[in-house]
C-alpha cells in the first residue's frame, strides 16, 4: 500500500491526463496486474510486495504494449521500478511505445530487493515512494566467471538440461515483442520436440536478449525449472557493455549496437 502512489495516480486520472493506470491491485486474495480507470476506485492499489518486497511484480510493460497497440492515441500511466523504466526507455528506442504518451509513477526498491536482484540501478529517475539505494554488482556472474571453462560449461549444461521448454521465459519477458520469434523457427530450433536442444535453445535466446534485456528478472521467476536465466543474461549484458559501451535502457538517445532494424548501415 502506498499513499504516495495512490495520490499521484488519483491526480493523473482525475485531471484526465491519462486514460488508465496500469498497476497492481489486491483482489481475490492475490495481487493482480490491473488497469485503474477511475480516480475514486484506487482503494486496492498496491505496489507488489505481498510477503517480501517486489515478490509479486508483473510484466506491466508487456501489457502496456498490448494497450497502446490497440489505443495508439491514448496516454496511459504505469507503475515503474528501475527495471521497468529501463524497459520503457529501451522500448521507446525500438519504437514500441511513444514516451510522450506514457506517465510513469515511480517507486524505488528497498535494499533487500536490490540485493536479491543484484540490480545496478534499483530506482527510476524520479519516484514518489521509497528511498534511493545504491546499485549492486552481480555476484552471481562473478562466481561463475571464476570457474574453468569446462566447469562453467558443465554448470550451464546441467541447468539447461532441466528445461521443460515451456517458453515462459519468452512469454513473460517485457522486452520480447517480435512478431516472429526465433525460438519458433524450425531452421534454428527443432520446434515441437522435447527436450529442447541444449545449449542451442537457451543460447539463441541469450543472444537475442543481448542489447535487449533490461535485467528485470521476471524470466527467472517464471522458469518452472529454476534455471538462473537472469545470471546468463547479466553476463551477456556485461559483454555488450564491455565491447560497445552500451547498457540497455539507461540512455534513450543511444540505440542498441545490435539494432539492425531500419535499413542497412551506411
Amino acid at each position: 500500500m502506498s499513499e504516495q502512489v495512490k495520490n499521484r495516480v488519483k491526480e493523473l486520472l482525475s485531471s484526465g491526463k491519462i486514460k488508465g493506470f496500469l498497476g497492481l491491485c489486491s483482489r481475490n486474495g492475490h495481487i493482480a496486474p490491473h488497469l485503474f480507470v477511475n480516480a475514486d476506485d484506487l482503494d486496492n492499489l498496491v505496489v507488489g510486495d505481498k510477503l517480501a518486497a517486489g515478490d509479486s511484480r508483473y510484466p506491466l510493460n508487456r501489457q502496456l504494449i498490448n494497450l497502446v497497440r490497440a489505443y495508439p492515441d491514448e496516454t496511459f500511466g504505469i507503475l515503474v521500478r528501475g527495471c521497468d523504466e529501463r524497459g520503457l526507455t529501451a522500448l521507446a528506442s525500438w519504437n514500441q511505445v511513444d514516451p510522450n504518451k506514457i506517465e510513469m509513477v515511480g517507486i524505488a526498491c528497498p535494499r533487500e530487493l536490490a540485493l536479491a536482484c543484484e540490480c545496478l540501478k534499483p530506482y527510476p529517475e524520479s519516484f514518489v515512494d521509497g528511498e534511493k539505494c545504491e546499485g549492486v554488482s552481480p555476484e552471481s556472474v562473478a562466481r561463475i566467471d571464476t570457474l574453468q571453462v569446462k566447469e562453467r560449461f558443465d554448470h550451464w549444461y546441467h541447468e539447461f538440461s532441466k528445461c521443460i521448454k515451456c517458453y515462459g521465459c519468452r512469454d513473460i519477458c517485457p522486452m520480447c515483442f517480435c512478431n516472429e520469434c526465433s525460438l519458433e523457427n524450425n531452421e534454428l530450433i527443432r520446434t515441437g520436440e522435447i527436450p529442447p536442444e541444449i545449449p542451442t535453445f537457451h543460447l539463441t535466446r541469450a543472444v537475442h536478449m543481448a542489447g535487449r534485456c533490461i535485467d528485470c528478472g521476471l524470466c527467472s521467476e517464471a522458469c518452472p525449472a529454476d534455471i538462473p536465466l537472469r545470471t546468463l543474461y547479466k553476463k551477456v549484458a556485461d559483454i555488450i557493455d564491455k565491447q560497445y559501451g552500451f547498457r540497455t535502457g539507461y540512455d534513450g538517445a543511444q540505440k542498441s549496437p545490435l539494432n539492425f532494424l531500419g535499413g542497412l548501415p551506411e
Binding site: K19, G20, R27, N28, G29, H30, I31, A32, P33, H34, L35, V37, K50, D55, S56, R57, Y58, P59, Q63, N66, L67, A70, Y71, E74, I164, K165, C166, Y167, G168, D171, I172, E221, A222, C223, P224
Partner: protein, 135 residues
C-alpha cells in the same frame, strides 16, 4: 476501452495452475501466470501459457456433431443426448455393461468427474472409466 485481467484456473490438467487472462474489449489476448498462487507461484507449462489461444479458436466445436449418412452434422444437444442414451442402452442390452468404456476429462471440474464415474458405475454398471490426463 475495457481491459481486464481475469483470475482463472488452467483447464489442461489436474495441477490447477492459476493465471490471469488478459481481456481487451471482450477478446482474450494473453495469459499471465499468477505469482501469488500457491499452486504454481508464477510459473506455467506450455499448455497453460497458451490457454488464451484455444478459447476463441475457429476450430473449436461449439455444437454436438452426429454422423448422418457418413457426414458429421451439427445437431441440438437434445438430439445428441437422446441418440447417445439410446445407443448406450442398446449396446449394454446386447453385449453387457463391460462392453462399454467411458473417457472423462481433465478439463472439467472435480465434481463433474465424480458425477461421471458415478454414472458409469451406478447407472451403466461398469468400472471401465478413464480420463485424458493419464498420458
Amino acid at each position: 476501452m475495457d481491459y481486464r485481467t481475469v483470475l482463472t484456473t488452467c483447464t489442461h490438467c489436474g495441477c490447477g495452475c492459476n493465471f490471469y487472462l488478459e481481456v481487451l474489449d471482450g477478446r482474450v489476448i494473453g495469459t499471465i501466470p499468477c505469482k501469488t498462487s500457491p499452486i504454481n507461484e508464477g510459473k506455467l507449462c506450455i499448455k497453460g501459457w497458451n490457454v488464451h489461444e484455444f478459447i476463441q479458436s475457429k476450430k473449436r466445436l461449439t455444437q454436438p456433431l452426429l454422423r448422418k449418412n457418413g457426414e458429421l452434422t451439427e445437431v441440438s444437444w437434445d438430439e445428441a443426448l437422446d441418440f447417445t442414451a439410446r445407443r448406450l442402452k442398446e449396446i449394454k442390452d446386447a453385449h453387457g455393461a463391460d462392453s462399454l468404456a467411458f473417457l472423462t476429462s481433465a478439463r472439467v471440474t472435480n465434481e463433474e468427474n465424480y458425477l461421471f464415474q458415478k454414472f458409469c458405475r451406478a447407472a451403466i454398471g461398469t468400472n471401465n472409466v478413464d480420463h485424458c490426463a493419464r498420458l
